[in-house]
Symmetry: C2
Subunit: 303 residues, 2 copies
């Protein structure tokens, strides 16, 4: 069984091997060449695994429209994790005041104005407004990826504030969404298993905000709307989710006006790969020196 070492020790080891580069802020990390190569190779492995699905491939930037985000429901459920983007829109006089404030060690927040963009909290968010309208009879399947932001500073390298997520998103009837998700749980398990990562599916819930959050989380579990493939990285008691499998029912279809040819509100499901977490699991499981990884693993994702 994999030996579990504490998060700080793991981070120190990764930094020492040049795999991660600290920036001074918890959860904001640069990555060295080998770390990136492992992620690139894994990403290609995913592409190969689903090449025949013929998904619509779109890559989104880390920044998305605020209006869509406000409608999405994220701020209702996870306001504490969201990142909104502000900028300076004042004149020369206000600029001087702002710079004086900064020089004096003060906050320049009062000089910042909200823009019409926010940070993407998950790779699939820009897909739903894109799919608005009537779906083709077979529904739609998207292959997306982007940086995601979650404001939860942590010293755990497996809990970055800014990280990359690759997702498959299915939009169609309830049966299409469900079967897509269930099929991917098996597919992903095989994919990770072949890399020496025996990740296990577990029912899960999102970290909903506030007093009502507990109820929402329980409901999500009861209805089995969320599964994760988990593996111990820093803790055996609290294994890390490498992937998540979400069935949103009619939520996004309703919000963004997506309908099936039959005129029903579309159901959606998404499958997300946490790319940094999967790389971390590989380095944690097989060691920080990829040349020493098992041959089978190297052949698949080794640099």
């Amino acid at each position: 069984m994999t030996q579990v070492i504490p998060e700080k020790q793991l981070l120190a080891s990764l930094v020492q091997h040049g795999l991660l580069v600290p920036t001074g802020v918890d959860g904001v990390l640069g990555r060295g060449r080998l770390f990136e190569e492992v992620i690139e190779r894994f990403d290609r492995l995913v592409s190969a695994a689903c090449a025949e699905d013929d998904a619509e491939v779109v890559r989104f930037p880390p920044v998305i429209p605020r209006r869509d985000f406000e409608r999405s429901g994220f701020l209702e459920s996870f306001p504490h994790l969201a990142g909104s983007i502000f900028t300076f829109e004042g004149d020369t006089k206000q600029h001087h005041e702002m710079m004086d404030r900064i020089e004096a060690g003060g906050s320049y927040a009062p000089f910042q104005t909200m823009t019409d963009v926010v940070l993407a909290p998950a790779a699939c968010y820009p897909v739903y407004p894109l799919a608005a309208g009537v779906l083709p009879p077979a529904g739609r399947l998207f292959d997306v990826a982007s940086y995601c932001f979650r404001h939860e500073p942590s010293t755990d390298p497996a809990r970055m504030q800014i990280f990359r997520m690759r997702e498959q998103v299915r939009i169609g009837s309830p049966a299409m969404a469900r079967s897509f998700r269930d099929r991917w749980i098996e597919r992903a398990r095989e994919l990770l298993g072949a890399l020496g990562l025996p990740a296990e599916p577990a029912p899960a819930n999102d970290p909903f905000f506030g007093r009502g959050g507990k109820l929402l989380a329980e409901n999500q579990r009861q209805q089995e709307l969320k599964y994760e493939l988990v593996l111990p990285i820093c803790s055996a008691e609290r294994p890390t989710a490498l992937m998540s499998f979400n069935y949103h029912q009619r939520h996004f279809g309703e919000v963004f006006g997506i309908r099936t040819v039959e005129g029903e509100v579309a159901h959606t499901a998404c499958v997300g790969f946490g790319l940094e977490r999967i790389a971390l699991a590989l380095f944690k499981t097989h060691g920080c020196v990829p040349t020493a990884w098992p041959a089978e693993v190297r052949r698949r994702v080794g640099p």
Copy 2:
């Protein structure tokens, strides 16, 4: 000569061919599979071109520490382009108020608090704090890349708010910084020329803010601190910068305490590839169907 078509026509054509995907906010665009493949291949071409330089390779996320950013001087020169990140840190009651505000179509800005991260304005910014201290005798050379944010919404696809930049950064003596930059101007010209992009070097200046900005821009030009490789994409009169070559003199060395072995303040220079712009220049020059590109170009960067 390349025919110059207006920016909206170019964007429409790129969207029609599935190369770019609008999100509803100017300058925030998804990219289709072929667009990404061209960028990936170009990125590998750059890696091959400088493989022997033995640079320190680091990839940074789109989000960087606010403290370093405040010290960097960016807010002094370009406050209007910077993006700071805010989040919600209130309680359940405030959360209800925020959601009511959003539902009523109001702004939730008053419920947002500044975090300790901002959006990266250029790929090289996280390098300078990393290099603090005394340099090795030969100085240091970094190969970095990241998403960059500039708050300047535009319908010109060559002026995105969020885009990717690959950079080489040299830190050392004034002679090291200068010769690095001058060598790269020729190198990059060859690299782009071989792709059928006859980009020409031109002295340039940054878009400094405010009344004092004009003076700073003139000074930058007079001292030849900034060059760009430019090519017409949407306008013959105002060609687009595909790359920029910047000599910062002692600015970053002073701010972040980087010194040469001789004890002098280090000088820095950087060379940046605007990846989306280079892809756009390829599609504009050779057409939106890569299978119809000239064989030489296809061989190098075609999908």
